[in-house]
Structures are given as structure tokens and as C-alpha cells.
């Protein structure tokens, strides 16, 4: 399992009702369903991912997050998860509002653009970083709203969102000493557990 997803498993209480925005091939929900007795529903737009979910018995709805989540009632889920989709949305701040309206708690993971490699790349080469974790060129990337750990926390403060827990993990999938000390510099992937 992708390492940020392990944090998610730790934060989810057994038997939770979960909405997973951008659920991909349904691996996370399948794990949460089988290990924690969760009742998960995924949202996805990719046709092959949707078929994969259905094939493994994960409930999935074909829906574009950019068209809103107005079809979900207030407080209708225990946890709303969005793993690695934040940076692809046309209005990420509005989707976060929606997540907190629909779910009691939210979990968001995103690639940290404040990582030292990004900074170094930009400062030395003067060009947008392209790496294993950010493999796209600026002109054809789905990642239209990159942010840093500090940016994200500033947005949470502005919105009065409570951060229950957070972590960053590095390339080796571990939460190292440096990441704990200076997450915005050493975190590759950020994971946030939030509530209203």
C-alpha cells in the first residue's frame, strides 16, 4: 500500500462510513472495508479504475469532483478521504469545505511542493520540477494546484479548520527525524487529519 495510505488506515475508526474522493482502483477502500469493517464509497472519473473497483466489490460512483459534491447530504459520512487529488482540482478550497460539510472528519494527502528538492530544482535550474513523484511537465500536468505544507496549514487556519493530526513522509516511506522537525522542507507527502 502507498505509504500515505497507512496513516489513513491508522486514523480511521472501525466500522466507519467512508467517502473516498478520487478512490483510484479502490485498493484503499478494499483494505478499509476488509480490515476495519468500513462501509466505503469511492468517487472516481477514470473508467478503468471504476471497473477495477466494481470487480473487487468496492462501491464506486462515477462523478467529477470539479462539478461539486452537492449530491451528498450534510454529516452523512464519518470520514471523507481525499488522497493525492487535492492538487488536481480546479477549486481545492471549496472541495475541502464540502468534505467537512459531508464528513465529521476528513483526511487529505498531497505532494508537498515545499520539499527541498523542489526548492533546489527551481532555484538552481529555474524550471518547474519534474521528478518521480511529479512526473509531468507544467503544460500537460493534471496537477494544477500544487501547494506546500505551510500553504495548506495557512488555508486551514484561515478557514478555522481543526487539524487533529498530521504527518509528512519522505521518499523511503518513513516519517524521519528531519520530517518531524521541518516538515515543509523534508516531507515528500503530507497527510492531514482534520475536523471542523
Amino acid at each position: 500500500m502507498r505509504f500515505d495510505l497507512q496513516f489513513i488506515s491508522n486514523w480511521v475508526k472501525p466500522n466507519s462510513r467512508i467517502l473516498d474522493l478520487g478512490c483510484g482502483n479502490g485498493d484503499l477502500l478494499q483494505t478499509l472495508n476488509s480490515d476495519l469493517g468500513a462501509q466505503g464509497i469511492g468517487i472516481e472519473i477514470d473508467a478503468e479504475h471504476i471497473t477495477s473497483c466494481v470487480a473487487k466489490g468496492v462501491n464506486v460512483l462515477e462523478q467529477d469532483l470539479n462539478n461539486g459534491l452537492g449530491n451528498f447530504q450534510d454529516n452523512s459520512f464519518d470520514v471523507v478521504i481525499m488522497a493525492h487529488s487535492l492538487q488536481t482540482l480546479s477549486a481545492p478550497h471549496l472541495v475541502i469545505d464540502e468534505m467537512l460539510r459531508i464528513g465529521t472528519q476528513c483526511i487529505v494527502t498531497f505532494p508537498n511542493f515545499g520539499h527541498w528538492r523542489c526548492r533546489l530544482h527551481l532555484s538552481l535550474q529555474g524550471r518547474m520540477p519534474v521528478s518521480k513523484f511529479m512526473p509531468h511537465h507544467w503544460f500537460d500536468t493534471p496537477n494544477i494546484h500544487f501547494c506546500t505544507v505551510s500553504d495548506f496549514e495557512a488555508l486551514c487556519r484561515e478557514k478555522g479548520i481543526t487539524i487533529i493530526d498530521s504527518a509528512v513522509v519522505d521518499n523511503n516511506a518513513s516519517q524521519g527525524f528531519l520530517g518531524k522537525l521541518l516538515p515543509n522542507l523534508f516531507g515528500v507527502t503530507a497527510v492531514y487529519h482534520m475536523s471542523r
Binding site: I41, A47, I50, T51, V54, N59, L61, N71, F72
Partner: protein, 388 residues
């Protein structure tokens, strides 16, 4: 019959007679009735692999395969029922029934009313979706099926599948609702009314007693079907299929001749075939059942409250260019199911053929539908191996 490994082959029509009166939603009763049906595949030993197919407005029991070796016209859902197809006859025992009120063998307006000795015609009782469900339940009992692995229906068939899920929640494990709706929109009812007016204003209709007069309201039926066909296709799909191609004539200057566009020829042909094979009173009866259907009416007009009564899993599918049963209608079903905390998956299939898309080959549709059905098959196979 074309050679096709993925066909159920030659199928036989079966008839079941029922003597036990069927109480209808209208308050009237059908004292006795016949249901004609077909089956594909084999019922397994613990009777856990049965799938019911509910047909749409002009459908019938002949959903797959051929009736004889020289038969060139396969059943209406042949693309999706058969070995290796989404509803796989190697795994499932598939039951496809012609609804009462129909005109393909089950008791309907053309049948003899035992009280009068004459054909029912327009005196056949008004039907609601639940009447079909209740009659299908009677057939289920005769076939010795305790629970359907799935009930599948497109359009009006999807409405029956949903009604099953609310009326008899313990009788099905999966409900597959394709290109359907919780209720018809005003626009949809309007199209049905145009079709009914076309039929009833035909002088050969004789107020619905045309059989007594030895006539058939062919022109009315033809028009009704032509209007229907326009609404079942999309502008884009019609453009792709027919464009402005000519069937006959030309626009050459200096020539005073009529031209016939391909689309005109197609609609005339469809209308002609339909007018000689479908019963006008059945058409009126079926469109009214469609118009009157409102899944949530008796639940305080609250679809969430309605779906609280269901206990099966749902798969809902829609097609992007379907404007008769638009994706938004399916999304309403899905939103209510989610709010009712039911298990549901939803796919919106990219397709250019409008409402008709649910009958037409489409790779993505087949894959998604097939994946869901295989999952169901895997469950009852696990069940069998666990039991052993």
C-alpha cells in the same frame, strides 16, 4: 441464425398459466392469466444463480438467442446475454418474461376476457409497475427460485427492478437499474401523450375496440413509434448514423424529383415494422404505466425514505447522450441510495446513441456491467464452496 459462440443459440418460448387471481394496483383483479417467458443457462443446485430480466416499453420475453435455425433476428438484448457476455449464461440462470398487458403471448388486451368471451381490448385493466412485479413473483415461485441473484432492467425495466427492491427486499441480492428514473419528467410524459394521441386519433382505432371492427390503427402506431425513435436517439447519434444521406432521388438542379433522406426511410421502416407487430392498446397501457410510475410517491415523495426499504446492492448505469432518461435521473437514484446508506455503484457510460445505447454494443458498458455480474457470480460460487 448466425454462427456465434457467444449466443445462447435456439431458445424455446414457455408459457405458464396462473389460476390464482392477481390483485392489481387499480383495485381490479385478473382472475387468471398466462405469462410467456424464456430461460437461458441452467439453474444451479442451490438455486442461487437466477437472474430476472425486466423488459422496457416495447420489449418482450425474447431477450436472447434465436427461435429457429432460419431466424435472423436475435432477441432484443442479445448483445448482453449469452456465454461470455455481461449476463453470462454459463454462470446464470436467466429468466426473461413478457409482462401482462403485453402483446407477445402473456395475457393482455388482445387476450380473451373470460367474462365476455371477447378480446379485452381497451377494457383490459390499467396496470402499474407493481402489478408486473407481483406477477413475476408468481412465476418465481413456480420456478422454485427463492431469491434472485440479480434483477436487471433498462428504462421501464429498471423501474420494475427498483419496485422489486422495495416491495420484496428479501427476494433479490442485486438490483441493476440501467437508463431509468425515479419517475418520468413532464417532457417524457408529453412524448408519451403525443404517441397515445397519434394512436387514438387514427380512425381505425375505434375507441380501442378495433379488434371488434377488424381493423388496426396502423398509421397511429407508426407515428407513435416514429416519435419514440427520435427521442430514443440523440441528435449526435442520429447525425452519425444517418447524416443527410439520401436513400433515393437527388438534388440535381433542373430535376423535379422527390428525395428520401435515410433518416426518413429508417423511421418509416421502424414505424411500419412496429405497426404490424405491436398492439395499440398495449402501447397505451405500457406508456401509462410509465407515466404513473413514481417510486417514492407512497413514501411521502421521499426517495431516501423509499430506499430505506431495500436491502440489496445496486448498480446504476446511465448514458451520456440519453436525454429521454438523462444521467441526471440516474444520479437522483444514486443520491437517494447513498443517503439511505445503501450499497451502490454508478457508471455514466460515454455513448452517442441516446436512450437506445443500453441495447447497443459498447466496450466500456460491457466491461463495467460484466465486472459487476462476475462479482455476483463469484459470490454464489464462494457460497457453494463454503457450503461444501
Amino acid at each position: 441464425m448466425p454462427l456465434d459462440e457467444r449466443s445462447v443459440g435456439i431458445v424455446a418460448v414457455q408459457t405458464q398459466h396462473f389460476d390464482r387471481p392477481l390483485a392489481l394496483a387499480s383495485g381490479r383483479t385478473l382472475d387468471q392469466y398466462d405469462l410467456v417467458y424464456e430461460t437461458y443457462g441452467e439453474l444451479n443446485s442451490d438455486r442461487s444463480n437466477a437472474v430476472l430480466i425486466c423488459h422496457a416499453l416495447s420489449g418482450h420475453h425474447h431477450a436472447a438467442g434465436y427461435h429457429h435455425a432460419d431466424d435472423h433476428r436475435a432477441g432484443w438484448w442479445n448483445e448482453y446475454i449469452g456465454p461470455g457476455k455481461p449476463i453470462d449464461s454459463d454462470h446464470f440462470f436467466i429468466v426473461s418474461v413478457n409482462n401482462i398487458g403485453g402483446c407477445h403471448g402473456s395475457t393482455g388486451p388482445k387476450s380473451i376476457n373470460p367474462d365476455t368471451g371477447r378480446a379485452w381490448q381497451r377494457d383490459f385493466p390499467l396496470l402499474r409497475c407493481r402489478d408486473w412485479v407481483d406477477s413475476q413473483l408468481e412465476l418465481m415461485k413456480v420456478l422454485g427460485i427463492e431469491q434472485w441473484a440479480a434483477i436487471v432492467g433498462g428504462s421501464l425495466g429498471g423501474m420494475q427492478a427498483m419496485r422489486w427492491a422495495l416491495e420484496y427486499p428479501d427476494k433479490l441480492r442485486n438490483c441493476i437499474v440501467i437508463a431509468s428514473a425515479l419517475k418520468l419528467t413532464a417532457q417524457n410524459i408529453a412524448f408519451n401523450e403525443v404517441a397515445r394521441q397519434a394512436i387514438s386519433s387514427d380512425p381505425h382505432f375505434h375507441d380501442g375496440y378495433y379488434l371488434d371492427h377488424g381493423t388496426i390503427p396502423k398509421n397511429g402506431l407508426r407515428l407513435a413509434r416514429m416519435v419514440g425513435h427520435i427521442t430514443y436517439l440523440s441528435e449526435d447519434g442520429m447525425g452519425k448514423k444517418f447524416g443527410r444521406e439520401l436513400k433515393s432521388g437527388s438534388f440535381t438542379l433542373g430535376r423535379n424529383e422527390d428525395v428520401e433522406f435515410q433518416i426518413e426511410s429508417y423511421l418509416r421502416h421502424q414505424g411500419e415494422v412496429f405497426s404490424t407487430s405491436f398492439d395499440a392498446n398495449t402501447y397505451i397501457l405500457m406508456t401509462k404505466a410509465l407515466d404513473y410510475f413514481d417510486l417514492a410517491r407512497e413514501y411521502g415523495d421521499d426517495p431516501v425514505a423509499a430506499f430505506q426499504h431495500a436491502s440489496c446492492n445496486f448498480l446504476v448505469l446511465s448514458f451520456t447522450t440519453d436525454w429521454r432518461f438523462a444521467p441526471e435521473r440516474s444520479q437522483e437514484i444514486v443520491a437517494a441510495l447513498v443517503a439511505a446508506k445503501k450499497s451502490v455503484s454508478y457508471g455514466e457510460i460515454e455513448a452517442s446513441f441516446g436512450h437506445d445505447a443500453f441495447l447497443i454494443p459498447n466496450q466500456r458498458y460491457e466491461q463495467l456491467f460484466g465486472a459487476y455480474m462476475q462479482r455476483i457470480a463469484a459470490e454464489f460460487k464462494e457460497g457453494v464452496s463454503n457450503a461444501l
